[in-house]
Amino acid sequence: MSTPRVGAPIERRIAETLVLDGNGSSVAVGSFWAKGPCLLVLLRHFGCVGCAEQMTELAPRLGDLAHVGVRTVLVGNGTPEQLAAFVERHALQGAPVEVMTDPRLGLYAALELRRSAWATIGPRALVDMARAMTAGHPHRPVEGDATQQGGVLLVDGRGIVRFFHSNRSLGDHADTSDLVEVALKLRIEASSAAARV
């Protein structure tokens, strides 16, 4: 077992990991990139203040990602009810994004994302939390696993890892513009017959 390596095929054990949709039905993660590139954003938990900050950055770019053909899937680890509340809180109804949950943390474990109390309450995390709260994101009760950290995985339509980031702490997350840049590159690559200037 190892963390996903950029440029390498995604491991089958990851693709076969199941997550739950809003109705509680199981979905294999590999199905997300069966028809094209997919950006998987794994949240710490649905109530996480750092994830709320991340969503504020990501939400306005969901249209850009969809525009270049990237499917965006958010994965939390709370209950389906907490998932529904998260969707409502971030006004994601009708947005080009799907929200799933992984209460057993199978996908988090498969991607070897950090699970650490220090990353949640250590000095770095506290500074991150203060930054997010001063930016207007309220602190909410834990809606999932408190010590689990998030991450981001972008897999292209051939199952090749194009971007991977494992969050080090509560407020650490991949730069949204870096994700969009990879998505734009994928769009260019997908048009191999076209003139590229």
């Binding site: 770019r61 525009h67 969009v180 840049e181 048009s191 076209a194 200037v197």
Partner: protein, 213 residues
């Protein structure tokens, strides 16, 4: 003499009540100056307090200067305004002016090839006026009109172009050196996102056209 302390503190009080950072700094400077006068006029001047107050005043004066520069109205030339409308509507005029500081304007004549297949491209361009055409093996492809980006794919992928770009009429270009633009955008996340959006829209339109043609 004590009146200086009261005046300074009343000014500090007002500075804490205002919400505008410029007014806060202005009031702080006036208050600090009054306090400075008090320290200087004492029978034995308080040099430590005078020193620190001078440092605070200098920092505030510098920041006031920066704030005033940032709040000046933006004056764009008609050409710049047109370019803003054509390709960078999502940027505020002030942000666009920042971007323009890195840009160079250049003219190319009709039939001039300004991007060559296989040749490294170290700049990204926007057509401000005129028209150009993307050519693969001499055959004309996508027509590039005012507002279209040129070199954005090389900018994103780091690869050399696989086609030529030739001006089909006298054309005016605005160009940015890739490395400078990358560094500049790396310092401003918001600006980077908006420029990325503009490039993305142009890219999808072009690639869609290529696929359809």
């Amino acid at each position: 003499m004590v009146v200086f302390i009261h005046v300074a503190n009343v000014l500090y009080l007002f500075s804490y009540l205002v919400k505008d950072i410029l007014w806060l700094r202005l009031l702080t400077v006036v208050a600090g100056s009054v306090l400075l006068a008090y320290y200087v006029l004492l029978p034995v001047p308080l040099w430590a307090a005078i020193g620190w107050n001078v440092v605070f005043l200098a920092i505030n004066v510098r920041q006031i200067h920066v704030l005033l520069l940032e709040r000046r109205p933006v004056c764009l030339t008609p050409d710049e305004l047109r370019l803003h409308q054509l390709a960078f509507r999502s940027l505020s005029q002030r942000e666009f002016a920042k971007l323009l500081r890195l840009a160079h304007w250049e003219n190319v004549v009709a039939d001039q090839r300004f991007v060559s297949k296989g040749q490294p491209l170290d700049r990204i361009m926007v057509i401000a006026d005129g028209r150009a055409c993307v050519q693969i093996a001499g055959a004309s492809g996508v027509e590039l009109r005012p507002g279209c980006f040129v070199g954005e794919m090389s900018f994103l992928t780091g690869q050399t172009p696989n086609a030529d770009v030739v001006a089909t009429e006298p054309t005016r270009l605005v160009t940015w050196p890739q490395s400078e633009l990358r560094t500049f955008l790396g310092r401003d996340a918001e600006l980077r996102a908006i420029v990325q959006m503009a490039i993305g829209e142009d890219l999808v339109a072009k690639l869609g056209y290529s696929r359809a043609s």
